[in-house]
Symmetry: C2
Subunit: 648 residues, 2 copies
């Protein structure tokens, strides 16, 4: 197999400056005249001088009478003055002042008399209630400098100044070419077969680019054939676009042709950045014959592609179009878990953020570049510098926010075991008048207990069974959080069992079947309540883990277990009935258990926690739980006491 190689990878800042030093933005981005009222967000190519003054005349700022102030100087409350009709003119707000007057008296302060005179009890001072000519804008003065991005207010000022059109830089245009034999066009609403993926990076790019003021044209997907790729790139470069992006194929694998295709039509300046995700990014400039345009090779993994778009393409596009790219708002967050990071690589760590007590806490999400949901679930991104080997639990560092800062105040942080009823809760909380975002991280029941202990969350989902006391959760709290003042609220009683293929072809009836040679199991991770439950059932049946094929294969959620069964990767796994039902799989009941919410008492008065309690105590919510199947709601919303166990 032939291998491409990376150029020397460079830090992001160096990648940017390398391109800026070589790209002639003035030649590439032309100027054009546009109507003022369509110029929002465009950047002035020349200074703009006012054509009209505003106001263009001395203007009454109130309804009343226009007078010469000097005529009114003698008016006093105890010596009112009657102005004869030739000494005043009635005016409405906005009227031009007649010649020879210089003040307006508000109508409230004027008594019109039967003889036609106007009686006043106070003098007017010159220019009182008058908007003088040019008060706002003086014709010929500099209104807007060049290289200025036009705001909504600027549009108003320009029109007021009689500027009907103006010279601005072209709007940037980019073509994006998705590539790959495995890529399916989302427009075909495909059902992917193994080895196929639905192409979506182009749409993420289009959506991001619309915020950056870039128009995006999507090319249809091009298969991994060098001639076809070159042809597509050539056509895109010969269009009126300023930027051409090739999606995927930017790494150094056998089918990664982007590097060589870009080299054919121009020069590759950067291949590989010292960042993860995002490393396999390419930047180049097309040869003169192809317009010296910016060429970008974006990685195929969705998060890598996002980093390439946001950290490379966006700043370059802003620079090309003379815009200031606003930085995301930042907050300082306290990390709830240690996270090592590779020395020499800047890492973009997606984190779930919420305000717990007085500080913002951040829980790292999965680091996989292929996981777009880490971007949708994250409230922020922590940049771990290249010279850092990672961050420690409890360390405070800045996070760039992906959501408005104020939504952090409306974010409920739940860490612990996952259950489908938590998703129901998440949806229900968003339906409130003041929606609450539920940020959940799935680390298992024990992980949830530790998160509560560390002040890292508002509540934890937990379903830890203690065989010695036949009780749930409370014994573990006594053991691991002896000093914590916490409350247990039941969310639901749920049914755990063996998730098996539809109609149970291998006839699996209980844990004793897990020792069979033809039964492949899929397990949950260490610390998960479900795994503890499994271990207990195994020990009850005198089975040791090594007898169970697949005991060492771990998944982090019930749904992931169910998917393993659906795909045939495993024959069964322990999980909740709702997960089996969701994927139309078979379910062999094994146990009922309590799934509780563990809440530090100090958070009970938090409006977000209050909202949770209110919500789960409604009949509507209990009905939604029941409709999932495999749940009972007899205890839902009630406070659990030690020793309560589980009612029959």
């Amino acid at each position: 197999m032939k291998r491409n190689i990376y150029l020397e990878t460079v830090p992001i800042s160096e990648a940017l400056s390398t391109v800026q030093a070589r790209l002639d933005r003035t030649a590439l981005v032309k100027t054009e005249m546009v109507p003022t009222h369509e110029a929002l967000g465009r950047v002035t190519a020349r200074p703009v001088y006012a054509d009209l003054s505003s106001p263009t005349y001395h203007s009454a700022a109130m309804d009343g009478i226009a007078v010469l102030a000097e005529d009114t100087f003698s008016a006093r409350e105890d010596a009112p003055l009657s102005l004869s009709p030739d000494k005043f003119t009635p005016v409405n707000t906005g009227n031009a002042l007649p010649d020879g007057v210089n003040a307006v008296i508000m109508i409230e302060n004027v008594l019109m008399q039967d003889d036609g005179t106007a009686r006043i009890e106070a003098p007017a001072f010159p220019w009182q209630h008058v908007r003088r000519i040019g008060e706002d804008i003086v014709a010929t003065e500099l209104l807007i400098p060049s290289n200025h991005e036009l705001s909504a207010y600027d549009i108003g000022a320009l029109l007021s100044a009689g500027i009907w059109e103006l010279s601005v830089y072209e709007k940037l245009k980019a073509v994006i070419i998705p590539t790959g034999d495995e890529v399916l066009d989302f427009r075909d609403r495909p059902t992917p077969k193994p080895g196929q993926v639905v192409e979506s990076n182009t749409q993420v790019f289009s959506a991001l680019a619309s915020k950056w003021g870039i128009e995006v044209i999507r090319h249809e997907p091009v298969p991994d054939r060098p001639e076809a790729l070159t042809e597509a790139l050539k056509n895109a470069l010969l269009s009126d676009a300023h930027i051409v992006v090739m999606g995927a194929g930017s790494s150094a694998g056998a089918k990664d042709y982007t590097r060589s295709v870009l080299s054919e039509l121009g020069e590759v300046l950067v291949h590989g950045i010292k960042a993860m995700p995002g490393k396999p990014s390419l930047l180049g400039i097309a040869s003169e014959e192809f317009g010296s345009k910016l060429m970008v090779g974006a990685p195929g993994y969705p998060v890598s592609a996002v980093i390439c778009f946001e950290e490379l393409l966006a700043p370059l596009a802003a620079w090309m179009s003379r815009k200031v790219l606003p930085a995301r708002p930042q907050v300082d967050v306290t990390m709830t878990r240690s996270m090592p990071s590779k020395l020499g690589m800047e890492e973009f760590l997606r984190v779930s953020i919420g305000r717990v007590g007085d500080s913002y806490v951040a829980t790292p999400l999965s680091r996989g570049a292929g996981m777009i949901t880490t971007m949708t679930k994250a409230q922020g991104i922590c940049r771990i510098p290249a010279n850092s080997e990672g961050i420690n639990q409890g360390q405070t560092l800045p996070a760039s926010l992906l959501v408005p800062r104020e939504s952090l105040e409306q974010t409920l942080v739940v860490v612990g075991s996952h259950d489908n009823t938590v998703d129901l809760l998440a949806d229900a909380l968003m339906g409130r008048d003041t929606p609450i975002h539920l940020a959940s991280t799935h680390v298992g029941s024990m992980g949830g207990l530790m998160a509560v202990k560390n002040g890292a969350c508002h509540m934890a989902g937990t379903h830890l069974f203690d065989p010695d006391t036949n009780d749930y959760n409370a014994p573990f709290i006594s053991k691991y959080l002896p000093d914590a003042d916490v409350v247990l609220i039941n969310l639901a009683i749920r049914h755990q069992g063996l998730i098996v293929a539809a109609s149970n072809p291998k006839n699996i009836q209980g844990v004793t079947d897990l020792v069979r040679d033809d039964v492949q199991f899929i397990n949950r991770q260490r610390g998960a309540g479900t795994r503890i439950l499994l271990d207990w059932h195994l020990s009850q049946n005198d089975i040791v883990p090594s007898q169970v094929k697949g005991y060492d294969k771990e998944e982090f959620t019930h749904m992931a277990v169910a998917v393993n069964v659906l795909s045939g990767a495993a024959d069964c796994g322990l999980g909740i009935m709702a997960a089996a039902k969701a994927l139309n799989l078979g379910f062999v009941p094994l146990a009922r258990e309590r799934y509780d919410l563990l809440i530090p008492r100090q958070h009970l008065s938090d409006p977000r926690v209050q909202a949770v309690l209110e919500t789960i105590r409604t009949d509507a919510f209990k009905e939604r739980i029941q409709s999932l199947g495999g749940y009972e709601t007899d205890l839902t919303g009630q406070e659990m006491q030690p020793g309560m166990g589980l009612p029959e």
Copy 2:
């Protein structure tokens, strides 16, 4: 004259809650299905569950060979293992894993041998370099809750999950109806006569609304006739819009019909808010027959209209469409001037902000509701609470930023006398590779000296002539800033003179003509260097101010003086030649003077100040100054010493 009355004015928060309590947003804003790739910024009307898993199969995460990890456990560096061809399958990144394997070994770590075996020196662990089925998304799991505004990342996740379309709330639509007999349509590119204004608020609204995700339809301007206004409102309410805005006519004047027109077709809930600008705002709900839609009466003054749009309409629209309206970034600023404020009214004070030394300083701009340029010149807005009587110089308070926070670091704060060369400088600074925004406030030369003294600016423009020493600026610095370590840099020598009407019809030849009965003068404000110059020339000619008609009429800039002459409001005023030339007026030279930049020495190393010095020392900039007319650049960019005076 008939007078309308306001309802009791209410605070903004009360205005909002009053409408929210009465408007049925669920009935008004329907839901619809939209294609996922067109759903950016839309809000989910229902929870979205994944249709596909992602990946949909166990996928190779690297180029290499796929193996069963258990087959490789014996491999060591000192005991390499050769896998026979039936024990491995070559795979590229993204390929589906064949049945019966569970790991990928990177191609870099495999030696393919001639006999077709693959030699490895380390074992693979299970699921190494494999993206497992459902790793990112598990089919049927909750992907996005309801009432969630879709981000670019969400679009990617939805397409990956096989969601091709989804149920969202309608995009809000608003009709805006400009009103008023005096209003000219900007589309006609009009030349306003006295009493007429170019309508621009609709375009400010459209531009703002586009950021809020609201589609705006502009009605053509409607004259101030109740029947015409009612007809226009009725048609707009019967369209598919959710919001109808009537522009202007919302106050309580004789021609302010909006209140009564809204009442005819619905109910007015709010008339008048305790805020300035923005007080004459109207909110109402149309009657059922007209769709129970939101009706807004926006004030006519542009800044009042902006406040109405941003503080009333935008939050209501966000609430209607279930969006979070992101707040502007805030910084704490130190006020450079005291500013009284009316008790009982919240004031939106536009301020010019820059970082001077270690703190952000804010200088209030004009408060007039009619001045749209206060919005274009401001970097931020300070909200002065209703219960405050104002703010004191040196007080620190939060400002909401109108510009990205990082542009404050690129903002040069200039306070003092105004000159057209400062505008040239502003434009030139924006043309730099890293543009610098020049924020200038015109308070006259003495005001500039005080601003330097108070640490309120990076530099001040000053042209103070001292007759005793025949020197410029330095004597005033010795007197008023005796302890300050400052530097004077000349910007230009300029010509001051009497600005007169074109071809000088009144044959004004010097200050002695200012005592003539037929000569109306327009003066500059107290503390302006130009006024000091005038006073000196008057005293030289034994003229006292009371002999000059119009001595007490003040303007703040040369251009404003020139506009007074142009409009015939005055026959002449003292000012610079460039102002006369800009408006094609006559000019009677009176004096040459030095216009210097006063810079605290500590700021000389500031990159923004450095940029100024670099810029003004270029030949290109000096040529731009000279082309204005009435300037000499012999001293431009040079440091001025006490006693230097003015070379002939």
